[in-house]
């Protein structure tokens, strides 16, 4: 199991060809209090760089971009009733998707924790 980070402030923890995807604590702090999350449904395929959902704070809406090609296995339904969980535990219980990875080679374009820490300073 390894965790990777994207420049769009997502994390993905990979187990074989599946992964769990969410936003980083840094991203959650920048967004402010989350009031709504729009998620894709199980079975939806996506490509790297494509929009795969929207996170709305009191002030603004922010898109979630796919860090690699894949398909949604499951969306975290708990976020519908409790979007504020994204501020509390974005790197824990408040994951956004379980996904199937289509092209594992794209993981090489992502950062490890040290690289991500350097990005956010």
């Amino acid at each position: 199991m390894a965790t990777y980070y994207s420049e769009d402030h997502e994390w993905i923890t990979v187990e074989g060809d599946t992964a769990t995807l969410g936003i980083t604590q840094h991203a959650a702090d920048q967004l402010g209090e989350v009031v709504f999350v729009e998620q894709r449904e199980a079975g939806d395929a996506f490509e790297k760089g494509g929009e795969i959902g929207v996170i709305e704070s009191v002030k603004a809406a922010s898109e979630i971009y796919a860090p690699l090609n894949g398909e949604v296995i499951a969306a975290n339904e708990a976020l519908a009733d409790n979007p504020g969980a994204l501020n509390e535990s974005p790197e824990g219980d408040a994951w956004i998707y379980k996904i199937k990875i289509s092209d594992a080679s794209q993981l090489d374009d992502l950062m490890d924790l040290d690289g991500y820490k350097a990005l956010i300073g």
Partner: protein, 365 residues
């Protein structure tokens, strides 16, 4: 904005309090503090919050019959505004649109006017060009601080007992912490509270005195926006602009009877016609049924799927606990209870037309 942002007299305090600074109309302003927009919003509804609104333009008008002369630019009855009273109004253009909204106070030997930050550069020349023999002085050396919320009277009254005696839309000069301030009982949150004009050298010291009260915390522009939206108050540039008339904007209440009947202000022909016959569109409250906020520019459709209007302000309402919005719908629509659809990211989301405000205004009359 390529210019260096302007700083208010409270800038150092915002930084000290951990304010998240953003550019607003060319000013470096706190959008929120560490408490966050939701907490600051609730603080204001339940206790008291302090806002820096020094970016707004403070103007002094001196001369004979200033109130009467203002009536040539605004559809409000300013000639009969008594000393010690403040009144909401707006400048209109010849087409009956709104050039800016403002608060005019009769300060006895002069008039005190507060205009929007983004329109200082427009409003001040407008007054200078059109108010004959009136000395128009823009004030640059005073902060403007709003203390708002059900506990505002306690917070301000401890330092300034006369504040307790003021009623909604009354204004006076008073000593606060050894300096003379102009204190007015009004605001932009739907709550009781004050706006206080303070000499810039004393602004941080007095703000800290207010914040020393257990019930008072700082709040930023984020909470100011969600508070005013729940209170059904228009934001210039979003909900009103030079193309919208006050009748379309559901602001007929702000035009006094004599002015409605007599006219004599820019755009009177259109405004009087709309008063008599109704306007082509009107501003209404809109409550989305789901959790998705409907923001500015979202299309409003009738239940039958026809485009009937556009959202002009929309956000999450922390007191309501869900999304709230305002927008214009065309004539024939807009009855409270009417079901509409909001087209958010291509999907129709159900919503209902509601009576504004979303929360009961809590003024001390």
């Amino acid at each position: 904005m390529t210019d260096t942002p302007k700083l208010t007299p409270l800038y150092d305090l915002h930084v000290e309090l951990g304010g998240k600074m953003v550019d607003f109309a060319g000013w470096d302003m706190p959008v929120q503090y560490p408490m966050g927009i939701m907490g600051e919003h609730k603080q204001c509804r339940e206790k008291a919050a302090l806002f820096d609104v020094s970016h707004m333009g403070q103007v002094i008008l001196r001369g004979d019959n200033v109130g009467t002369k203002l009536e040539s630019l605004c559809p409000q009855a300013f000639a009969t505004l008594k000393a010690g009273k403040a009144r909401y109004g707006f400048f209109t253009n010849e087409d009956g649109g709104i050039l800016d909204d403002l608060i005019v106070s009769n300060a006895g030997d002069h008039y005190f006017v507060v205009v929007n930050a983004a329109l200082r550069h427009q409003d001040i020349p407008h007054m200078r060009a059109n108010l004959d023999d009136v000395e128009v002085t823009e004030i640059f050396d005073r902060a403007l601080v709003a203390v708002q919320g059900p506990k505002a009277e306690d917070v301000v009254g401890e330092l300034c007992p006369v504040a307790r005696e003021l009623k909604f839309m009354e204004t006076t000069l008073a000593d606060i912490g050894g300096v003379e301030c102009r204190i007015s009982r009004l605001g932009y949150t739907g709550e009781d509270g004050y706006e206080i004009s303070i000499p810039e050298a004393d602004a941080i010291r007095l703000s800290k005195l207010f914040l020393a009260h257990d019930d008072c915390e700082p709040a930023g522009l984020g909470a100011r926006d969600s508070l005013r939206l729940e209170a059904g108050l228009c934001l210039y540039g979003n909900d009103i602009d030079p193309s919208t008339s006050p009748i379309e904007a559901s602001l007929a209440w702000a035009i006094q009877k004599r002015r409605k009947e007599e006219g004599g202000f820019p755009g009177a022909a259109r405004i009087q016609k709309e008063l008599a016959e109704g306007a082509a569109k009107k501003l209404v409250g809109i409550k989305p049924e789901g959790r998705a906020p409907a923001r500015r520019d979202v299309e409003i459709q009738s239940a039958e799927g026809n485009t009937i209007g556009t959202i002009t302000s929309g956000s999450f309402g922390p007191t309501i606990g869900g999304p709230v919005a305002m927008g214009y719908v065309s004539a024939g629509h807009g009855t409270p209870g009417e079901k509409v659809n909001l087209i958010i990211r291509g999907k129709a989301q159900p919503a209902e037309i509601v009576v504004l405000p979303f929360v009961t205004q809590n003024y001390k009359r």
